[in-house]
Point group: C2
Chain length 338, copies 2
DNA sequence: CAATCTTTTGAACACGTGTGCATCCTCTTC
DNA sequence: GAAGAGGATGCACACGTGTTCAAAAGATTG
């Protein structure tokens, strides 16, 4: 268990420990010849510098905290994968913490990150509580939000990477309207989630633009997961007049909706068209294949981490990065029945 | 950015910093009255102890490293979720690292964990390279493997949590054989993965037990992901005589297989029965619903972390924990056509 | 009241690394 | 050959916490 330290190396090389420190960091202050000798001794002793001690001395931990609502959410897992990859490539390590959308846990996580002295924090949560952001920004550490812009006044520490929800959602609607649909339903997430609000806004805008009426009974709310999507679809199917197309807040909801339709013997897309959002990998393995909006999930994670790296190195960068979604037309959408 | 330290508190409370240290850790050595006063001052100053400095002094980081092949794999994400939850509950933080099954990255990750002086390492990888384990155990830190037993001689530092693959796979086969199937195919993962080898062993054992012949042409290999499953199923469908049932190494493979069957207009389960493994959440949202083996994924993560906690506190514990899978019969299996 | 014991506190050091400054050595230059 | 310049190295300290040991203060006993 006893690790070799630079002092051990210093003793073995017959020099002082600062010289070892400098040799290992390739400082020009130490003679090339002895530096090389020291490096060889260090390697032969299997030396690994202590990031702990280094952090204490330099006040940088090369560590970032990543808070997610749940890593079991496939969308989030993809984003985190992009974050981790980029972080690792630049010598950073990531602390992962699930909040489970539980306020107590959120507070606990922030304290934990604070005590560990992370250099920055990336948040991927469907909802960022009003109380949460002040708590985070109290750490005086750069923060990057993914798919959640900071609601209040611009804060010098808070940055974001998000998809252009309104644009993407408008595209979805144009596609459905272009196919001839008029009675288009929207299955949303729980109220108060920014991405839901924006996608819904795109839905309404497109309806208005096409001159179609907005029918409140065609808007129902799920929970962003299959079960909620299934229940929401059941409500729609209980209506005296079914919609001819359904736009779901995300693929998970669409999955549940698909299930409900299947049980009722309603054919997709013959009887009802269905659209999701996210392009999870499952979307290309449902029957029928799901028409959806592709978000560059891993890339968004990478961009968030790259933004973080810029912030940490003092390079200035765009505060709010918007990426575009891409409509992926598969098999779950078709013209309505005549 | 300048954090408050115990010295700042000491100055404010007019005591020495060791007294503050003791007061905050509720040491009986300091007078209750002054301890209370110090704690109040600390709270009012928003003090958060530096885990860095504490780690340096105590030589424990209360940190564990988690290596996964890819966090984007839904099975792994569930396991990690269980690990993280338990870790967090006990004041531990987790470093997450993806290896992408890339040897270079694996080495890099181990070095990174070493330098960060993690207290322990949990590995969730479908494959643990022969070279990898010695590298890991070189850190002299407890290691817990999930669904991957250490192949070589027992190592005092290496523990594992895994599902009883042979038993589960035998159950699957009994189910299929009980339905009347004889031509049962197996879609495996890439060669050399322990869980694949074991599930395949169960497949053969059950065939032998039933007195049915083992037909090598009915065994094909995918990659554990949908695309590999699809291709494997295509190979099976190219055979002069189709199998009547297909047992897939995991749900992801089954998803791809399902897709291939759908494209060929082959009905599941009417024409061919299909079984997966893992019970990913999607398995209950495919059409038809997938018959599969449920692994207690989150619980396995929790058990791995609990084992780790015991190892770290010196409590001795079982070296190899086996959990049981549960056959979940849904809609994708039925008797073969007469 | 003195001596002893107990409680409470502070001084000093350790953990492993990085860095400003002083020192020593070597080489150059007049 | 002496003075100065410059390169190489070591000393001392800092980072924030925990811990051992000694000292001081207070309590107890004869």
């Amino acid at each position: 268990m006893q690790q070799v330290s630079i002092k051990d190396i210093a003793r073995a090389a017959n020099v002082s420990h600062p010289t070892v420190s400098r040799a290992l960091s390739h400082s020009p202050l130490v003679k090339g010849e002895t530096a090389e000798r020291i490096r060889q001794i260090a390697a032969s002793m299997g030396y690994r510098p202590s990031a702990i001690a280094r952090s204490l001395a330099t006040k940088k931990t090369r560590t970032i905290g990543v808070v997610v609502t749940s890593i079991a959410d496939p969308f989030i897992a993809d984003v985190v994968s992009g974050i981790e990859e980029t972080a690792n490539d630049h010598g950073y390590s990531v602390f992962l913490a699930n909040s489970n959308a539980n306020p107590d846990r959120e507070v606990k996580v922030v304290h934990s990150f604070h005590e560990r002295r992370v250099d920055g924090i990336i948040v991927t949560a469907s909802r960022v509580g009003a109380l949460y952001v002040p708590l985070l920004s109290g750490l005086k550490v750069p923060i990057v939000l993914i798919n959640n812009q900071h609601p209040d006044e611009p804060d010098e520490f808070i940055y974001s990477v998000m998809i252009d929800n309104i644009k993407a959602s408008t595209q979805v609607m144009k596609h459905l309207i272009g196919l001839g649909h008029r009675r288009i339903a929207y299955i949303g997430d729980q109220a108060g989630f920014q991405s839901d609000t924006e996608r819904f806004a795109g839905y309404r805008q497109a309806l208005a633009f096409a001159g179609y009426p907005f029918l409140p009974e065609l808007v129902v709310h799920g929970d962003g997961k299959p079960e909620g999507g299934r229940q929401a679809m059941e409500k729609l199917l209980a209506l005296p007049m079914h919609p001819t197309a359904v736009f779901c807040y995300n693929d998970m909801s669409a999955l549940g909706a698909l299930r409900a339709l299947y049980r009722h013997g309603i054919k997709v897309p013959d009887d009802i068209s269905l659209v999701g959002f996210d392009d999870l990998s499952i979307a290309s393995y449902t029957s029928p294949l799901l028409t959806t909006v592709s978000q560059p999930k891993q890339q968004m994670g990478r961009m968030a981490m790259e933004t973080m790296l810029k912030l940490l190195s003092g390079v200035d960068t765009k505060a709010n990065i918007k990426v575009e979604g891409e409509l992926i037309i598969r098999e779950s959408t078709a013209p309505p029945k005549a």
